[in-house]
């Protein structure tokens, strides 16, 4: 299987190289109008078909590696180092991305898959797709070259083959780890597609903004995958690492967040280009930067440039990535300089207070956040280089710098949709902003009454202060967004006679993009409320013998026993804790500690009881070597459930935004002839 896999990779590389060269030649011939022995259209089509065949070849290689994991082929070094016989099936599948070589193969496979779909749908716009397909092939050549020459996944083990493998890192043996990396990679890799379209459109001086419409679905889907991947990673950190948090500002976490920020900025500012022909250069550079940041993220993960909890994936292929990033940046700059006259704006902003300027400020804040994270991530390297002194840039830095920026961003989430295009009148501002401002102050007063006190004992409590501001801003933004739904639904209700719920649904169907977007904003605000709840976390730690008790918040935990279990993969010991509230037994929790047999590595399995109000989070930390007593840590995390609930709303909103709106013609057809004249006013996003 190793020979088959290696051969498949070489074939895939040859096909990608052909796709790149033949595609580039064909496009050059078309652009210059020169004649050749073969027609450039046919040459371009052979390149496209090579791309499709390349997908099959790289799929075969991925299959070979997965098959090797399932058949315990320890003659392959990668399988030996990342799997073992007792590893459950789902984690054997996860072996594909549990190490350096495999995750690069996953990258190439996903890129091949995206390319396959793109090439199959080339009739949408043959020439633009030919450019995009050729650029994708260029990226694929890089990844396949790394796989073939720098990090081969099928290299054979030298010496006597051991009976069993080294096993999978215990941290990765968790259900989310079967989904999180592929989701994240679908997001990372997916941004190659809008990048390819943007670069291709610029190279060919694509007329109009159609390429943006073509790539919108790609960009949104990719963004959704990246969002989902990041949240899955947060949940994994929350449930596995056992420190009660979900985001540690680890360099690799930061690396996934940066392209998300620039991608989000692109999704917003691209509307300016689509609707008003503005910010063309800006958008091109946003998507270039997003792609480069995905490469930087991979570089940070792989090259060991900065220390990270993701060190299990480190290796020495950083140079390859640095060189490739240099090439990509050079190509981007060269193309931009050559074609920049094509990117002249057709309109300019007319007012500081308008929807357009809110997009501009939204972009400014998102990019500043991206810069802050990039700066914080790379500052240790810079400091070591400049003054020879390596420092740590951890959570306290991001708290002070990123929080104000984040709150400003939430505020813009609510303000933006309330501003009209072109310019806002004082009257419209007053009409749209009264209720949100009232909501802000009501929320602030309620929070203060409920005990959120920023000033205690004469000093400022930053946690409470930021929580107060966040809750108040969140209330204002939610009122602003629901106000938008309410205004539109009321008009439809008056015109159609339907109730508000049905009218809201009709409203949303008629402009899924706008109202799906609003739902995404609602999801973001719900997430933020959940994040702000962390300001009120409480924790306690205690040695807990049999029938020992400990209390946290409204709960009392009583230990009713300790027990052990084992299987072929690990031994485990866990505590049985009865949880009481108001003197009544509510439920039982079983925090667990595992020791994996192959590696001997210990791992916590946290017990979590979630409600909308808070999570009761219990960790079995092991036994005190002096007393022999088990140590239990209990944490009460308020509002964490809102984070995951917000993700659900965010995903629903994004999916809704992907659904085409009901076209005006369809809407007219569905209305009885007598009532038709009342409808057109509400069609096609004129709200």
């Amino acid at each position: 299987m190793a020979a088959f896999g290696s051969f498949a990779l070489l074939i895939a590389l040859a096909l990608a190289a052909y796709n790149l060269l033949a595609g580039a030649l064909a496009l050059r011939l078309i652009a210059t109008g020169r004649q050749a022995a073969i027609s450039p259209e046919r040459l371009a089509d052979t390149a496209r078909r090579a791309g499709i065949a390349g997908f099959l070849a790289v799929s075969a290689a991925a299959f070979a590696l997965i098959w090797s994991a399932f058949t315990n082929d320890f003659s392959i070094t990668y399988i030996l180092e990342h799997s073992n016989r007792a590893l459950p099936g789902a984690y054997k599948f996860a072996t594909l991305w549990s190490g350096q070589e495999g995750s690069l193969l996953l990258w190439a496979w996903l890129l091949g898959t995206y390319g396959f779909i793109l090439r199959l749908t080339h009739k949408t716009d043959v020439k633009l797709y030919a450019y995009a397909g050729t650029i994708l092939a260029g990226v694929q050549v890089f990844f396949l070259s790394v796989l073939c020459f720098a990090a081969p996944p099928f290299s054979l083990y030298r010496g006597a083959i051991p009976d069993d493998g080294n096993g999978l890192n215990p941290l990765l043996q968790y259900p989310e780890m079967v989904i999180h990396p592929p989701m994240l990679y679908l997001g990372y890799v997916g941004f190659t597609v809008p990048f390819a379209f943007a670069l291709g459109a610029l190279m060919m001086r694509y007329p109009g903004e159609k390429w943006i419409k073509v790539t919108r679905v790609w960009t949104l889907v990719t963004w959704l995958f990246l969002t989902f991947g990041i949240f899955l990673g947060m949940h994994w950190a929350y449930a596995v690492l056992g420190w009660g948090g979900y985001w540690g500002w680890d360099p690799v976490e930061n690396a996934s967040f940066m392209p998300w920020l620039t991608g989000t900025a692109f999704l917003h500012s691209v509307m300016m280009q689509e609707k008003k022909g503005m910010m063309k250069s800006w958008n091109v550079w946003l998507i270039f930067s997003t792609f480069l940041l995905t490469l930087l993220g991979t570089l940070l993960t792989r090259a060991g440039l900065v220390s990270s909890v993701h060190a299990f994936a480190q290796s020495s292929i950083g140079t390859w990535f640095v060189v490739f990033m240099g090439i990509v940046l050079t190509v981007c700059i060269f193309t931009y300089v050559l074609q920049r006259s094509h990117l002249r704006s057709e309109h300019h902003l007319e007012s500081l207070v308008s929807r357009e300027s809110s997009f501009l400020f939204n972009n400014l804040v998102l990019l500043t956040a991206c810069f802050v994270i990039l700066w914080g991530t790379l500052f240790p390297v810079l400091s070591e280089y400049v003054v020879g002194n390596k420092v740590t840039v951890g959570a306290p830095f991001y708290n002070r710098v990123a929080v104000p920026i984040g709150i400003f961003l939430v505020l813009l989430t609510g303000i933006g949709p309330l501003l009209p295009w072109r310019a806002a009148s004082f009257r419209s501002i007053r009409r749209n902003f009264v209720l949100p401002v009232v909501a802000f102050w009501v929320a602030a007063i309620v929070c203060l009454a409920a005990g959120v006190r920023p000033w205690q004992d004469g000093s400022l409590d930053t946690g409470n202060f930021y929580a107060l501001i966040t809750f108040s801003v969140a209330a204002a933004v939610l009122v602003a967004i629901f106000g938008e739904f309410w205004r539109g639904a009321t008009v439809i209700s008056k015109q159609t006679g339907k109730n508000i719920a049905v009218s809201t649904w009709l409203l949303t169907r008629r402009n899924t993009r706008r109202y799906g977007g609003y739902l995404v904003h609602v999801g973001v605000v719900v997430v933020v409320i959940g994040l702000a709840g962390a300001a009120f976390n409480r924790n306690t730690e205690s040695e807990l013998g049999l029938h020992g008790k400990m209390s946290i918040g409204p709960y009392t935990l009583e230990c009713t026993g300790f027990t052990q279990d084992s299987n072929l993969n690990y031994n485990s010991e866990y505590a049985l804790l009865d949880v009481y509230k108001d003197g009544k037994k509510q439920f039982q929790m079983t925090p667990e500690k595992r020791v994996y047999l192959i590696t001997g590595q210990p791992q916590t399995m946290v017990a979590i009881h979630s409600t909308l109000s808070w999570d009761l989070y219990v960790v079995y930390e092991g036994t005190n070597p002096d007393t022999g007593q088990p140590i239990i840590k209990a944490i009460l995390n308020p509002l964490v459930g809102w984070i995951w609930a917000g993700l659900v709303v965010l995903v629903i909103g994004t999916l809704l935004a992907l659904v085409p709106s009901i076209s005006p013609a369809t809407a007219v057809l569905r209305v009885p002839a007598r009532t038709a004249p009342t409808e057109p006013a509400m069609k096609g996003g004129h709200l």
């Binding site: 990041i230 056992g242 420190w243 009660g244 985001w247 540690g248 500002w249 680890d250 509307m271 609707k275 008003k276 220390s307 300019h348 902003l349 500081l352 300027s357 400014l364 990019l367 500043t368 700066w375 500052f379 400091s383 400049v386 390596k390 420092v391 740590t392 840039v393 959570a395 306290p396 830095f397 991001y398 708290n399 002070r400 710098v401 990123a402 984040g406 961003l409 939430v410 205690q456 409590d461 930053t462 946690g463 929580a467 966040t470 706008r514 977007g517 995404v520 904003h521 997430v527 959940g530 994040l531 702000a532 962390a534 300001a535 791992q603 930390e621 092991g622 840590k633 004129h686 709200l687």
Partner: protein
Amino acid sequence: MQVGAVAVAVCFSLGATDAGSRYTDLNHRLMCTCGCAQVLGECNHVGCPNSAGELNELRVAIANNQGDQPILDGFVARYGAVVLAAPTGHGFDVVAWIAPFAVFGAALLGTILLVRRWSVGRTALTVGQAAGIDPEDRSRLDQVRRDTDGGF
């Protein structure tokens, strides 16, 4: 998570509002040195070789009534500057704190100036052309305005 920065950070910014939380405050300003890249107060890896010892050192220092800065200095002397969870306010470290705000301020100023310049240019253009606009162009402009009133 558009503003993951917001409250993710809030969770780490719990202030030391009472005397008992000084220990928590300080252990959130230090890093565990085991290589896990976690804040000392939040590193509870099973079998972590370093965090328990460091936390104990911190408890002892607080019990001995040492000030915050001498305690932090003591940790730096023992483990190096990497033990501090954030750059200090001295020397080259200051750049770490200034750069984000400087960049944000410059970008904000630049954006405002750009928008003002555009809007002034637009106003001048509108005044100059208003008299000469024909009905057909006016109709197109109205159509553009209607078409652009959508999206989120």
